[in-house]
Symmetry: D2
Subunit: 345 residues, 4 copies
C-alpha cells in the first residue's frame, strides 16, 4: 500500500516537461513519481503523435518503474496538462487518505490486442495490483489503463505470420482494445466473472463502473494505475478522498452535480476529475438523434470529449480535467465512468 498525492500542472506543449519544476517546488523529487497522467493536444486517435512525443520526453525523467498514461485530445475547452501521482513525503504518509499502485502487462502481440488474451492479461495484472495494495475492490475508485492499438504495420505483421487481428480498421482497433481492457478491469473488480470474458467480448454490452481506458500507438503493453481510498485513513482524517459515479449518458449533469455536491458539502476542493466520454452507440441521447457517428470529418471520440469536457469544465470551473474519449465497457453505453479526487480542508 502506497499513500499517494495528486498534483497537476499546465503544459505549453506535449514536449513540455516544466511541470517537473512545479513538482519540485511543491517539495517532491522526481524519484517519488509513480505515474505521469497527461492530456495532450493531438487528435486522440491512431495518428496522435502528441502522445508519443510526451512519452518520449517524459520517460527519461521518471523512475524506471513509473508509468506514463497520455490521453490525446483536448477538444473544446480542455487544457493540456499533466497530473502527477506521487508517493507521499515520508513525514505525512499517514494523513494522505489515497493509495495507489502502478504496473504494466507484458507486450501484446498484434493478434492478441482487443481479444480474450488481452482482457485476461489485464484482469490478472489489476487483480495482483489490488492484492498488493492491501485494499478490497470496494475501496477502488478508478482503474486507468493505457492500452495498445493496431497500426497498418502491426496488422500486416500479423497477416504475414498467418494470424488474424481483431479488426483491420486502425481506428476501430482503439475501441476493441479499450473494451478488452475494460472487461479485464471488470473481472479484477469482481463486476463480472472470468468465465464470462469470451461471452462479454462477443456481446460488447458489459461494463465496469470504475474503468478508464485509452489506446495509443506509443506502447505495446498496457500501463495501469489503480486508485483507492485508504481503508485505514478513512476512519481517521484523510487529506485526500476519491468518489465515483458513472455518467449514464453524455449529458448526465446529475452525476457530476451529485459528486461535486458531496465535495462541497464536506468543505472539500476538487483536485482532479477523471471522466470517460463516448457517443451513444445507437446514435441517440434520450431519444434524440445525435450526429457524432455519422460525421466522417471528426471521429466520435473527439466529439464526445469536447461535449463532456464542456459540461464538466463548466461545472467544475476548471479546464484542466482528464476527459478521455471512447468509453466502451467503461460505464453505461453512451455514458462513462466519472471519478473525483478532492482534498479536505
Amino acid at each position: 500500500m502506497v499513500a499517494i498525492d495528486v498534483l497537476k500542472f499546465e503544459t505549453n506543449s506535449p514536449a513540455d516537461t516544466s511541470p517537473l519544476e512545479g513538482l519540485n517546488a511543491a517539495g517532491y523529487e522526481a524519484s517519488r513519481i509513480l505515474a505521469v497522467i497527461g492530456k495532450t493536444e493531438g487528435n486522440g486517435c491512431v495518428n496522435d503523435f502528441s502522445r508519443t512525443l510526451a512519452q518520449t520526453v517524459w520517460q527519461p525523467l521518471i523512475p524506471k518503474d513509473a508509468i506514463t498514461i497520455f490521453s490525446g485530445g483536448t477538444e473544446g475547452v480542455l487544457s493540456p496538462h499533466v497530473t502527477f501521482i506521487v508517493r507521499c513525503k515520508d513525514d505525512d504518509d499517514d494523513a494522505s487518505g489515497l493509495v495507489g499502485a502502478v504496473g504494466h502487462t507484458r507486450d501484446l502481440d498484434p493478434h492478441e490486442v482487443g481479444g480474450h488474451i488481452h482482457a485476461r492479461t489485464v484482469a490478472d495484472t489489476v487483480a495482483n495490483m489490488i492484492t498488493g495494495m492491501n485494499v478490497s475492490p470496494k475501496d477502488v475508485k478508478l482503474v486507468l489503463v493505457k492500452c495498445p492499438l493496431l497500426t497498418s504495420t502491426k496488422i500486416e505483421t500479423a497477416r504475414a505470420a498467418g494470424q488474424s487481428t481483431i479488426c483491420t480498421d486502425t481506428y476501430e482497433s482503439m475501441a476493441k482494445s479499450r473494451y478488452a481492457s475494460a472487461i479485464g478491469i471488470a473481472v479484477a473488480l469482481g463486476e463480472i466473472s472470468t468465465n464470462d470474458i469470451s461471452a462479454k467480448l462477443q456481446t460488447e454490452d458489459s461494463w465496469s463502473a470504475l474503468a478508464s481506458c485509452s489506446s495509443g500507438a506509443e506502447l505495446d503493453d498496457n500501463h495501469i494505475f489503480v486508485l483507492a481510498n485508504d481503508p485505514i485513513a478513512v476512519k481517521v482524517k484523510p487529506r485526500l478522498k476519491a468518489i465515483s459515479r458513472p455518467m449514464k449518458d453524455a449529458i448526465d449533469a446529475d452525476a457530476a452535480l451529485d459528486l461535486l455536491g458531496q465535495v462541497k458539502e464536506q468543505g472539500g476542493k476538487v483536485v482532479q476529475i477523471f471522466a470517460k466520454a463516448e457517443a451513444n452507440p445507437k446514435g441517440l441521447i434520450r431519444g434524440r438523434r445525435i450526429t457524432m457517428l455519422t460525421d466522417s470529418d471528426i471521429h466520435s471520440t473527439r466529439h464526445a470529449r469536447a461535449a463532456v469536457g464542456g459540461l464538466l469544465c463548466g461545472l467544475a470551473g476548471d479546464t484542466q480535467l482528464y476527459v478521455s474519449g471512447g468509453a466502451e465497457g467503461q460505464g453505461p453505453p453512451g455514458g462513462g465512468s466519472l471519478t473525483v479526487v478532492y482534498s479536505m480542508p
Copy 2:
C-alpha cells in the same frame, strides 16, 4: 407587433421537412410561419451544404416573406432540429407574451461583406424592425442574423471588378461577416453609436449582449429575426417569456444556471435556448491555455459549439438547442450571448 409562438421539432436530415406535419398537428398552418430557424448537421463552415440543402427544401414551403436561418454544426451532443417562429393563432393572441419580427437586408456585394456598409445596412434594418414592432430596445431579448460569407468565386468576382474584399481567406470571412452584423445590431439597440461603426470594425473589441449571427454561403442578403417580450403582455399573464444574459466565457455555467434558475423559480419550462460560442481570442480560458485556435484539423467554431453545447444540453437536459459558433461581437470575447425562451404554467 406580432404575437408569436415558438415550437421545435426533430429532423432526421437537413432535407427533412416532416416538422411541418408536427406544426400542423399542433394547430398551425404553414402560412403562420415567420421563420424557420434550424441547426443542421454540416461543419458550420464555408463548405457546409447542409444549410443550403435545408434552405432549398424549406423555401418553397413557407410564406414569401418568411425567412430561414440555418446554422450549421451539431457537434457533440447537439441534435439537428428546427424551431418555428409562428404567428399566434388568432384566438389566443393576447396571451402569448412574446413578439417577433422578421426581415432581410438587400443583397450585399462581395466587397461590402464584413465592412462598414454591411454593419450599417443591418443596423438600419434592425432599427426599422424594432420600431415596427412597437417595442423599445430594452424589451428585445435576441436579434438573430444569418449573414453571407465570401467564397473563392465571390472573392474573384470582386478582384475582377477592381474591388477589394475584407479578407481573402474564406473561413475568416465568416468571422468578419458575423462581427459586422453584430456591430449593426449593437447600433440598432443603442449599445454603440452609429458614428463608432468604423472604429469598432477596426478594433474588433465591441459587442452586443443580444446578438446571434451566423454566416453562410447559401445567401447574399442578411436574414434577420428580432425577439422581444411584449411590453403589454408582461403586465398581465404572458404564456411565453424570454430572458437573456451573456456567458462571459465558454465555461460560464453561472450564466446558464442563473437563467435556468429564474425559469424554475417561476415554474416555467424551457422552450428553446439560443447561445453563441467561440474560442477565446487569446487562446486562454481563465488563464489556462486551450487549443481550439491551434488545431488545424478542426476549426475553432466547431470546438466551441461542441463544448458550449455540452454544457448547456447537460444543464437543460435537452439536446435540441440552438448553439451557434463564432461569437465575434456577440457577447464578451470568448463568451457569447445567451437567451432562454420559456413557457409559463
Copy 3:
C-alpha cells in the same frame, strides 16, 4: 440499344443546374438526358450533403426514368462538374459509336445493404440491362453504380426489427456497399460465377475490371449506368469510343499513359475519364508504407481521390475528371478501374 453522347460542364456549387443551359446550347433538350453523373464538393463520406443537394435540385429537371449519380469529393485539383449522358440527336444516331443504358434496382432494406441480396440484385439488373442493350459483355467498358449506405438511423431501424446489418460503423458500410455492388457487376459481366457470390463477399479479394461504385445516403436503391462500344459502329466510323484498363496501384501512371497514348495515336480527344481510387488495404504501395489508413483526420477515400486525381488531371491536362474513392472490388486491390471516353476526329 441507345446511341449516346457524353457532354460535361462546370458547376459553381452542388446546387448549380446551369449546365442545363449548356446542354441546350449544344442542341440537346433535357428530355434526352439518360443520366447526370456529377462530382460534388463534399467529403464523399457518410455526411456528404453536397450529393443530396445536387440530387434534390436535379431530380425535378430530368426525365422520370433518367438517373443521377453524384460522387462526392473533389479533393486536390479536381473540379466540380456534371457529365450528361444523353440520347443522340435523331439525325446522327448512326455515327455515335457509344451505347448506354440506365436503370435501378428496388430499394434495399438496411439489413440487405452490402450483403448477398445486394450483390445478387445488382447482378440481375446489370445483366438485364446488358441484354437489353444488345451488346456482349466484352463490348462493355464501364458499369457505374450509385449504391446506398447505412446511417445511424438505418442501423437502428434494422436493430429494432431484430435484423443485423453488415456492420455498425457508418463509414465502413460505404465500403461494404461498394464491394457488394462490384461483385454484382462482376457476376453480370461473367468475371465471376453467381455461385461464388457468398464466398467472394467473405474473402473480399475479388474484383471487376469495369466496375465503378460509389455509396451515398441520398438513395435507398442502386442507380446504374452501363457504357459500351456499339459493336456495329466500331466497324464503320464511330464518333465516340471508350477504352478501359485498370490501374494496378494508385501510382500506376503506365495504365493512364497507355490509354491516353491510344487516344493520341488515333488522333482522338479525351471527353471524360472515369477512375476509381483507394488506399492499398495493406498500407503499402510498391512495398513502401503509406499513411492513408492510419490518418484519423482524413478518411482514406479522400486521400486516394486527391492523389489519383492529381496524377490523372496532370496527365490529361484537365481537372474535370470523374475520380471516385473507395475501389473495393473495382480493380486490383489498391488500384482501380479506369475508363477513357474519347471523340474521334
Copy 4:
C-alpha cells in the same frame, strides 16, 4: 565548398531513427551528416507534433552544426522517409558533383516572423552560405528553409509586449513565414533586389524559382540548406547532378516530364525530388474552379501535397518524395519549385 551525397530511407514512424543504421551500412558515419530532411506523417499544419517528435529524436544523434528539416504531411501516396545530406567519404570527394551548405539564422521574435526582418535575415544568411560555398547563384538548384510559425502562445507573448504580429491566425502565419523566407531566398539569389523586400512583402506576388520553405512550431530560428551543382565537377564526370524547373500550376506534368526526361536521356537515376505545392490563390486551375480554398475540413496545403504528390510519385514510380505544401513565393502562384537530384551511371 563541401561535396555531398544524398541518401534516403524509409521510416516506420516519426520517432524512427533506424535510417541511421542504413546510413552506416552504406558506409557513412553519423558525423558526416549535414542535414536530415524528412517527411513526417502529421497534418503539416500548426499542430503537427510529428515534426517535433522527429526533431526530438534526431537532434541528439547528429552533429551539433547539422540541421533538421522536417516537413509534415504525407497525404495520399507519399511515404514517410528521411533524406540524409552527408559529406562525401574522403576518397571520392572529387567525383560527387553536388555541393551543399547548411546554416541557420538567429531566433526570431514573434513580432518578426513573416515580416521584413525575417526576410532580410534569411537573405543575409543564404547569401553568406552561397559565398562560403564558392559557387555562383546560377549553380544553386535548391534552397530549403524550415521557418517558424506563430502559436497562440507566441501571439499572446507579442501582444503582452505591446508588439503586433504579422497576423493573428495561427495557420495563416505559416504562409506568411514561408513567403518571407522565400523573399529572403530570392534576394540572396539575385532574383529580386534587397530594396524591394518591403514592397514584395506587401504585394505577395513575387517568387523565387529555387525556394522551398516549410513552417513549423518546433523551431524559433530558420534552418537552411543550399544545394548546388559543383561548377568544377560538372566539367569532369559528376556522380550526382541537380536540375530544376518550377511547375507553373499544380497539374504541370510537363515540367516534371521535362526534368525526368533529361535524367533518362543521360542514363541517370532519380535519387530524390523536392517539390512545392499549393492551391492556386484564385481558386482556379487553368480556368476551372477547384475547391481547396473553400474546404473547411481539410486545409489547402494538405490538398495540394496530396495532388502534386500523386502526380510526381506516379511519374517517378517512387512514393518517397519530398513534396511540401504552401508554395507562397516559391514558384509561380498555384505552382511551385521542383528540383530533381539524380545519379549518373
